[in-house]
């Protein structure tokens, strides 16, 4: 007997009972809502002013049509994903508009690519465009140049020579492609298109980590999803001894009455399997040359699947390991000497390590709490979903998805990844977490009725709120204006600034690398701030003494000239993380401007550069 589903309607192979008139009415309504939402979004873009952002970033700046449009699209997508019949075209259109609304809004409103760290990636691409090669002695990016080579090739063949002009749209591009691969993978694992739509919708509104920007991480993530999709498509097998043991433990722990042998096993012929394996190895090899962390997380996930017997043959893991570790070997000394392979063996320390000095303002703390809430909700709801799926007899599915969702956590045993480890863990786990979350309310892909609809609706809306808070709520920090990018271009232009010069930042959050000649400066990120002290004392009422302290720090570097930068994004960062007392930074700039030690050489409302007078 099949599983009994109470309060829900189990999916059926028979056509839905709706009449043609009702079906057509529902379809028209869905398309109408979508068109209205798209029009409102366009209107909001025309009426939103993204200048002068403060705490909460873009959230207060976005006009009401944006929020109405977002609610309409979410409502439409949730409604369609719970309808009797899965309508792929309107669901696809809703998802596409949602992805655009979430990932294209900031680039459409802003003058330059967001995130200061985007510019160091642009710089490597520009280096390759200029020199046609890499120099491994410069930095780690030159040792993993897969993504940068691809981007430089695209720049040259498309005629869009400067990546700055398209980098802003990378988030939209990668988010859309990720959604495609996630949809395909979920569908293969769950064998349900309804679950695929629901999980992809959740993935889209939960991916607040912000790693889809112009970066090797975004490219590597796509390739990683591609490798896992290929393995799940072609190499899925019945569990081996370890997998069977785990399944028996799950059956016993969660009192599963009738475990079913329904796990999808690959039915592809040997030729197809060989082709897919070859393609997966290609993807993994390119991934190994593109990003430092992702191939190892992939090895963890793939290794766990191979050990469980869910993916066979075992030598696929060997091939992936050879590609990944083989690429590391010639770069091993550099990595060990520069960063270290293991940060700490304490997972808690790795998960909670702090990357930013200062004390965030209330808005940022709330945003951080919402992000943490989103993360914990996804892991918890996923666990519930896996248990529910297992209790319906589909133990193999639950163990497989649980393996993929929870193995990235093992990364915390070795690395804090510059304080971002917990974010990366969430990112790598997210597609699989979303499958588990969607199983929490519909363990076998059934539709819900009445009040039970509130569960998926509430979860999706709640995760969307967390997404919007994290993704747009820090935009005053993430945003860069053309004038700030102009200041960076000035500093890295040999016509103005001598090679070997030192650039001091009054606060973090300025493009510390820009342009193909970025490596010529001795230092471009010399901090004025050391913990809570500016120079030699806290910056309270800036005086000539503070100006002299800054000048001395620069001179200590023995650079070929020194520069001090003030910019809008630095000021926002200092304000949001309370690095200085209110207005102290502006007062300090006043002191610098009146000092004989510095001379103003770049002057724009959003960015000023002062040159140290020898």
């Amino acid at each position: 007997m099949g599983p009994v589903v109470t309060g829900t309607r189990a999916p059926s192979a028979t056509p839905p009972s709706d009449g043609p008139f009702r079906q057509r009415r529902t379809g028209l309504l869905a398309w109408g809502v979508l068109v209205l939402a798209a029009a409102l979004w366009a209107a909001s873009l025309a009426t939103t002013d993204a200048g002068n952002l403060r705490e909460w970033g873009l959230i207060p700046a976005l006009t009401w049509p944006y929020w109405v449009a977002l609610v309409l699209v979410l409502a439409g997508a949730i409604g369609l994903s719970q309808a009797d019949r899965v309508r792929h075209r309107p669901l696809l259109a809703h998802l596409a508009v949602l992805v655009a609304m979430l990932y294209a809004t900031a680039p459409a409103l802003e003058q330059a690519p967001r995130y200061t760290y985007t510019y160091k990636h642009i710089a490597i691409t520009q280096y390759i465009e200029l020199y046609g090669s890499v120099d491994k002695s410069i930095d780690i990016y030159h040792r993993w140049p897969g993504f940068f080579s691809l981007s430089a090739w695209f720049s040259q063949t498309s005629g869009v020579l400067d990546p700055t002009s398209y980098a802003a749209w990378a988030e939209l591009y990668f988010a859309a492609l990720d959604a495609l691969v996630v949809w395909a993978a979920v569908q293969v694992v769950s064998r349900s298109t309804r679950t695929a739509w629901q999980a992809t919708l959740l993935f889209t509104v939960s991916n607040w980590v912000g790693q889809d920007y112009y970066s090797p991480q975004a490219f590597g993530y796509l390739l990683m999803l591609g490798v896992l999709l290929a393995c799940l498509l072609a190499l899925r097998a019945r569990p081996g001894p370890v997998g069977s043991w785990v399944e028996r433990r799950v059956v016993s722990a969660f009192r599963v009455r009738a475990p079913l042998r329904t796990a999808a096993v690959s039915e592809l012929d040997r030729g197809t399997v060989a082709t897919v394996v070859a393609l997966a190895v290609l993807l993994d090899a390119v991934l190994a040359a593109s990003h430092q962390l992702t191939p190892y997380v992939l090895l963890l996930q793939l290794g766990a699947l191979v050990v469980g017997g869910y993916v066979r043959p075992w030598w696929v893991l060997l091939a992936a390991s050879l590609a990944t570790i083989g690429y590391l070997v010639p770069n091993y000394d550099f990595v060990v000497n520069t960063f270290g392979i293991l940060t700490s063996a304490d997972p808690l320390a790795n998960a909670t390590s702090k990357t930013v000095d200062g004390s965030p303002v209330l808005a940022l703390r709330l945003i951080g709490d919402l992000a943490l809430l989103s993360l914990l909700t996804c892991f918890t709801a996923c666990f519930v979903g896996l248990v529910r799926r297992a209790r319906r007899g589909l133990v193999g599915d639950a163990v497989l998805v649980g393996t993929l969702a929870f193995t990235p956590v093992l990364t915390l045993v070795a690395q804090n990844y510059g304080g971002e480890a917990r974010l990366r863990v969430f990112l790598y786990a997210l597609p699989w977490l979303c499958i588990g979350v969607s199983w929490a309310w519909a363990p076998v892909g059934e539709t819900l009725e009445g009040l039970r609809l509130l569960l998926p609706a509430g979860m999706t809306v709640g995760l969307s709120i967390c997404f919007v808070a994290f993704f747009f709520g820090r935009e005053d920090i993430n945003q860069l204006t053309a004038q700030e990018v102009g200041a960076a271009a000035y500093l890295f232009d040999p016509a103005y600034v001598q090679p070997g010069a030192v650039v001091m930042l009054t606060s973090p959050n300025f493009p510390a690398r820009y342009g193909p000649l970025y490596f010529r400066l001795a230092r471009a990120d010399l901090p004025a701030l050391s913990y809570d002290r500016f120079g030699e004392r806290p910056l309270l009422f800036p005086t000539e003494q503070d100006v002299e302290a800054a000048a001395r720090i620069i001179e200590k570097e023995n650079g070929n000239g020194g520069y001090l930068v003030f910019s809008r994004a630095q000021e926002s960062f200092a304000r949001d993380y309370q690095l200085y007392p209110s207005f102290a930074l502006r007062a300090f700039e006043g002191a610098v401007a009146h000092s004989t030690r510095f001379k103003l050489v770049y002057d724009q409302p959003a960015a000023r550069v002062y040159k140290l007078v020898p």
Partner: protein, 140 residues
């Protein structure tokens, strides 16, 4: 009557399996052919726009679309998998092949991106035509 294509067989999971079963079956030959013509058109368009030195606002998106879909299509188009998986693999393989080629050019200091681009499009379009012919023969 012609025999049905190997891509037109029913999906492997039957609805009887625990109420599941709306997993997509292998992509229809018709859809593979449509995708092939789209890829072929994009490839040609990218070359034409490049040759005509079209404005980057036009050329950029077309080259991006072609680069996202093209070299991977001939390699995955005949895999008996569903359309979404096929498209997902096609995108990943296309970008991976281009990244691998560009990486190689950078490593051996033989940076000729335009020539590599033409090679990618040429091989991709030729492969696409071969696959389209094969798919046409399979079509019932």
């Amino acid at each position: 009557m012609a025999a049905p294509s190997r891509h037109d067989r029913p999906p492997p999971d039957r609805p009887s399996a625990a109420g599941l079963g709306d997993r997509l079956g292998p992509a229809r030959t018709r859809d593979r052919i449509r995708l092939g013509w789209l890829v072929f058109t994009l490839g040609l368009l990218a070359v034409l726009l490049g040759a005509a030195a079209a404005p980057r606002e036009v050329r950029g998106p077309v080259v991006l679309a072609a680069a996202t879909l093209l070299p991977g299509y001939p390699l995955v188009a005949r895999l008996p998998v569903d359309l979404a998986s096929l498209l997902a693999l096609q995108v990943c393989v296309s970008l991976a092949l281009e990244a691998a080629g560009a990486f190689l050019l950078v490593q051996i200091r033989f940076w000729h991106p335009q020539a590599f681009g033409l090679t990618v499009v040429g091989l991709g379009v030729a492969g696409t035509l071969v696959v389209l012919r094969l798919l046409g023969q399979e079509r019932p």
